[in-house]
Amino acid sequence: MSPAPAPEVLRAPLVVEFPFTRSLGPVQSAFLTGLRERSVLGVRCHDGRVLVPPVEYDPVTAEEIRELVEVAATGTVTTWAWNPSPRPHQPLDTPFAWALVTLDGADTAILHALDAPGPEAVRTGMRVRIRWAATRTGAITDIACFEPYDGAPGGEPRPFQGEFADPVSGIVVPARLDYTYSPGRAQSRFLAALADHRTIGERCPSCQKVYVPPRGACPTCGVATAGQTEVGPRGTVTTYCVVNIKAQNLDIEVPYVYAHIALDGADLALHGRIGGIPYDQVRMGLRVAPVWTEGGRYPDHYRPTGEPDADYDSYKELL
């Protein structure tokens, strides 16, 4: 065991993408379908107020509200903020104002972008109208943005009795977040050693267990793992499963075996694929060693060493 040096900070790009598919209630469906047809619908509460954008339930009383009305595509800015540096995915890619706009006939405001030449051209109380997107699908982005407007105001909200042909029943909302991932001290040391074909565990100073891969803390004792210790390279299959379904983007023929492997000297099993042996001959106690591919930073898989199988008692605590 050697004292743990401060490792070089590893960094890698990490992209998290999650397209949510969401179904719509009747009011949301009517509103978003309306936008597709260049019509703005609101919903009337029992106290007479018209909410735009509309919701399914009264935000004050929680009563179900379903009375749809059509309001104007013109309105008044109630507050605004000048955004000099648009961020990814925002409605406009040139400087714009965010604005809350109360449309003529509505009692509440809708949030969207306002396209204006500069902050001096924007004020609370200014008149604006919707600029429709050229391609509309039934989404809030069917409104491209608001733009300044000096024409006549819209009138009172009109009852909306009709129904749309082919109403939207759901939306797909893609989202992507970009991160710079850094794994921390313990895992950085582990990954750096692994690239050098060495497997490094870390020992708990309290219970003496050696964790591979180390995560920086002993989950039993709640203290920092203190010292590095090299384990393996050989190990024992403690348990395994046969994978029969091909994973996306993974070029491995099925069936194959995925196993928990207790490397010699480690007190926790890691997992890896077993190769170099027919899948139906893998067994608990099988002795294995890592196989590295050219330039690989981690083992591609583990293969049998040909040693006699390990005695069950030698790994039963690691199951």
Binding site: P53, H89, A109, R185
Partner: protein, 340 residues
């Protein structure tokens, strides 16, 4: 009603970037410090509750990794909220009030540095009408600031004064670009720093608290309330949810000498001071508040911890602590702490 006190508080040094440590490596020293203050081990704590969000660092199930730093074996009674740690504290408080526990460890952590926090926070918004527009957190706060200016409640010079007070604890945000607009009317000085950090407190019931802390900070009341979720339905110049939470927590029953307010943006301190009826006699944010350090998910818990620590040190007899969550003070928690 059973009496519950905050008996210990610890926090990390909050930094712009902590790439050299994992979340658990950042959190663990704080847990050790707070437990060390009361001489307890994790196994001696009856209930553990944490607050964090996987979205900040983009790490799935990161709270289970963080639990490694507690030492959760043999199995402990544990819970987690995907909210600021102030709400984890609320859950722990209820757990003790019901008699299910006598002591509780509450912690929270956030690493905002791996991602783009302004964009990450858009994912908490209404997914139908708002999130597809990606309105970032500074822009939404700027809409609130403009609403306050339009209502005559505040002005840009007053916001500058708020920001300057918040910066007394640190100097990191008083650089040459402090006057630059980020999203007008908010300038850089009006916005919180991006911070990585962690915090933890220990709660104890009446009989236990006295043995753990010389001057426990007794929780006299605590409540949390939420606004309607659509920004266009709300009056952004006011915070009725804060006022109601404060009323139900007993904040208006007697004057407080100290208030720790979770106001990430200068304009939000103006809203909170009005909603909570805090006058100049009250020492507001002696810690520097969220404008000094803003480890998201821990910032609210730190307000409770800082208020309690002033009571522990004898610097306050009755303090108000506030935490918020969501855009433009969407949800608000108020606690009243007393020294005797």
């Amino acid at each position: 009603m059973r009496e519950v006190a905050i008996v210990a508080f610890a926090q990390s040094a909050h930094r712009r970037d902590t790439a050299e440590v994992s979340e658990v490596e950042m959190l663990m020293p704080v847990l050790h410090e707070v437990l060390g203050q009361v001489g307890l081990t994790a196994g001696e704590i009856d209930f553990t509750c944490s607050g964090s969000s996987d979205y900040l660092a983009g790490r799935a199930f990161s709270f289970t990794m963080a639990l490694d730093g507690v030492g959760a074996w043999p199995p402990i009674t544990e819970s987690h909220v995907e909210m600021d740690g102030a709400w984890a504290l609320y859950e722990a408080w209820v757990k003790i009030l019901t008699g299910e526990a006598r002591t509780a460890l509450v912690y929270a952590y956030g690493k905002s540095s791996p991602g783009a926090l302004r964009d990450v926070l858009t994912r908490q918004l209404d997914p139908y009408y708002v999130a597809p527009l990606w309105p970032d957190s500074v822009s939404l706060a700027a809409l609130q600031a403009q609403a306050l200016i339009d209502a005559g409640v505040t002005s840009e010079p007053e916001l500058a004064a708020v920001a300057a007070r918040g910066r007394t604890a640190v100097s990191s945000r008083s650089g040459a670009d402090a006057d630059d607009y980020v999203v007008r009317p908010l300038r850089r000085r009006d916005c919180p720093p991006i911070s990585d950090g962690a915090a933890a407190v220990v709660l104890a019931s009446r009989d236990t608290a006295r043995g753990l802390c010389e001057r426990p900070a007794w929780i006299r009341g605590m409540d949390h309330r939420i606004e309607a979720h659509s920004l266009g339905v709300r009056d952004l110049a006011d915070s009725p949810s804060t006022r109601l939470a404060a009323q139900r927590a007993g904040a208006f029953d007697a004057p407080v000498d100290t208030a720790e307010l979770h106001a990430p943006f200068s304009c939000q301190e103006v809203v909170l001071r009005r909603a909570l009826r805090l006058d100049d006699a009250v020492n507001v944010n002696p810690s520097g508040g969220a404008l000094a350090a803003n480890p998201v998910m821990a910032t609210g818990l730190i307000r409770l911890g800082e208020a309690a620590a002033r009571i522990h040190r004898g610097q306050s007899d009755r303090a108000l602590a506030h935490a918020t969550s969501g855009p433009c003070l969407q949800q608000n928690l108020v606690a009243v702490l007393e020294g005797s």
